[in-house]
Amino acid sequence: MTAIPVVRHQRAAIDRQQAIAGIFVMLGLVDIFVFGFLADKGDAVFTFTLTGAAVSVPNLNLAPGPVSEGLGALSIVLGLLYAGLKLTSLSRRLTAATVMLAFVVAFLCWCDAGRTPLPFVSLMQTTMLASIPLVLGALSGCLCERSGVINIAIEGQLLLGAFAGAVIASSFGSIWLGLFSGSIAGGLLGALLAVFAIRYVVDQIILGVVLNVFASGLTGYLYDQALVPYQNRLNSPNTFSSIKIPVLGDIPIIGPILFDSTIFLYITYVMVALVHIGLFKTRWGLRVRAVGEHPTAADTVGIRVLFTRYRNVILGGLVAGIGGASLTIGSVGSFGKDISSGQGYIALAAMIFGRWTPLGATGAALLFGFSVALANVLGTIGAPIPSDFLLMLPYVATIVAVAGFVGKSRAPKADGQPYVKS
């Protein structure tokens, strides 16, 4: 009985390895024949200095032809090695990362050849900004799902957070109060999710979707009825300005990307660290994971299952609410209908792609943020790609990432299953 599945499993693993190697070789061929041979004349120029920066870093000029062909050749060699050799999991991942990076660099060279220089620093700055709500949303997902409650309502939590942040900051004239109430608003939706999912054992996926529709309808209604007529009183908050961290913020390239941003980026750093350490290095986290994996066992050893779940779902809501507030008082200020525009769902995908871990989810969110930023920058430098395709880029990245990796990630075992003591 047991022998057959093992063999099948091995064969599947080999097929998968061959398939991935094939993809690497194909990407290498695209590097050479599309990005290398078909590039426009002229160098691709990457700039690394923002205007007004103290230290200037020289520009990087790459000739797209030779660079792309070299990178393509490298990818093909790596692909062949990948097919032939037995590799450890780490070197496999490194190979994949190298091939992907080579592909992105070759692609950028092709896009930029003979056009306006490509501003690397601002590309990465936009990446960070676009990632903030995604990272916080994904962390919210991790907190909830690790304790065994599926959180589809991230979108709604972002939206309520954005709404409350803008309205409270505007009416009380305090952006800090706005930040605080944005978080609370997300937490309230989290509490609603918790009560219905845990106390009344409603199907959690349907519940999450309903809560999203509820948040969209509620904020849309209030927007029309209150925020439009009383625009100046209720919907024109101040926004957080960026804080440059002394010394660190002056480092060339890295400084402006990582250490010269609004408070939201710093909150995000802290949150990622807190959730990671909390979930994986503390007793608290061990208990949370036990509840998410095997609630009956956890209950047997005296962990309060329902309490843990309530607490985590509400905590998750609070975190996502901060992400929501970043959409209004962290950037444009005023609230607009459905301002979260689907980012909660992307955050959910990031969490799954990141295998329910805070660090993985952060990496995935950064990837999505990067594709958003890339689409922006490619449009502005006049890359030879129709704008409609650029707008699709983040979503294509989402689909590829989730479809390509979802087979390997595993949800917490009791995720989505209500716990009812028998």
């Binding site: 205007t51 219905f196 409603v202 960026s242 209908k337 922006n376 704008s387």
Partner: protein
């Protein structure tokens, strides 16, 4: 059993809250608290001529073409003319909203936006006695019961581009659109042409980021609602050295304004031009960054369409707004009146006269 019960309660509750908004059929979406319903209160015989407007997805408060159209309706309101509107929250609302107004027997139905072109056409053909006006769309051949109002904004876009090129210190200016629609890209074409014209006249090399008339490709945010995208895109333009930004994206322009403000706070000299309406009126909080606004006379066109229809003189066919007839206007400089050099102001006035007389051609590749 309990589970099911709660679920259904929840769904019903949420549904009841959301339904009137989503469908845009009644209640919340009909109108703001203005004396709209007073007509029906007086009884059936005192019924006013009703001008009914269907907004695009940008909503009534987009500080752009929906807002201008609604202002036009409000200006037309009088003792005998009443106005009301329905908001479309998505493109699937267009048909139900139009149908709702047909059922209400509105005197004229004003649909706003290029995207409503087809739906308005089929409604007009199905109800030949119902009179329509549509903003930003033309029909060829023209349709008898539709007043199609379009604006040749390539002309004032041209002026805006020329002005931007003259005001830019970095010799880089930028523009971006919301959706890639002809009514959006015609502005961008005009802006691009204006910059090229400035370059030819002054022997300069001012570059336009975000749009090229030759390739008809450029930067778009993908909708007219996501201000964050407008902010990010504008920040990218600024980091590439552009110091004058011209967003053609309705409300998304507010995101651009936020980015301009942030850049200004950090010491960069960046300004922008607003689109569709006079920015200093529709978004006064950012007035000090608006060199000018490239507007179109939607307001007056909608008003005159309603008033003439109410007077029984409905025309039908296509109306094209231009610099000459006041349908496409470069707004006053406001805070920049003293900052735009007198010589440049003179050149702008001369070019305006040149375009009006047809001496200066404003080519456009965007079909309008």
């Amino acid at each position: 059993m309990k589970r099911l019960l709660w679920l259904s309660v929840l769904v019903l509750g949420a549904g009841a809250l959301v339904a009137p908004l989503a469908a845009g059929s009644s209640g919340a979406a009909t109108s703001r608290p203005s004396p709209v319903h007073s007509a029906t209160a007086k009884g059936p015989h005192a019924a006013k001529f009703l001008a009914c407007m269907v907004t695009d997805t940008g909503g009534i408060d987009d500080r752009s073409f929906n807002a201008s159209s609604w202002q036009g309706v409000q200006e037309a309101e009088s003792a005998t003319i009443g106005g009301k509107y329905l908001q479309s929250t998505s493109e699937s609302n267009y048909v139900p909203n139009i149908d709702a107004f047909i059922a209400e027997k509105c005197g004229i139905i004003v649909t706003v936006g290029f995207l409503m072109g087809d739906d308005t056409e089929s409604a007009a053909k199905a109800h030949p006695s119902q009179k329509f006006a549509i903003v930003d769309y033309t029909y060829s051949p023209s349709i008898k019961n539709i007043d199609a109002l379009v604006f040749d904004t390539v002309q004032d876009g041209f002026l805006g581009g020329y002005l931007a090129a003259g005001m830019s210190k970095t010799h880089k200016v930028a523009t971006f659109g919301g959706l890639k629609l002809p009514t959006v890209t015609i502005y961008m074409d005009g802006f691009w042409d204006g910059v090229q014209y400035y370059n030819r006249k002054h022997g300069t090399d001012v570059k336009v980021l975000g749009w090229s008339e030759a390739t008809q490709n450029g930067s778009f945010t993908g909708d007219f609602t996501n201000q964050t995208k407008g902010e990010q895109l504008t920040a990218t333009f600024i980091s590439e050295g552009a110091d004058i930004i011209f967003p053609v994206a309705g409300n998304v322009g507010l995101g651009a304004a936020a980015a301009v403000k942030a850049a200004d706070n950090s010491g960069a000299k960046v300004n922008m031009e607003w689109v569709d309406t006079d920015g200093c009126v529709s978004a006064p909080q950012y007035c000090k960054y608006f060199i000018t606004s490239v507007t179109k006379g939607i307001q007056s066109a909608v008003k005159s369409a309603i008033v003439t229809t109410a007077a029984g003189k409905f025309k039908g066919g296509n109306y094209i707004g231009t610099l000459a007839n006041g349908g496409a206007v470069l707004a006053p400089y406001h805070d920049f009146a003293s900052k735009v050099p007198a010589a440049l102001q003179k050149e702008i006035a001369a070019i305006k006269a040149g375009i009006e007389s047809g001496k200066i051609l404003t080519p456009t590749r965007s079909p309008v």
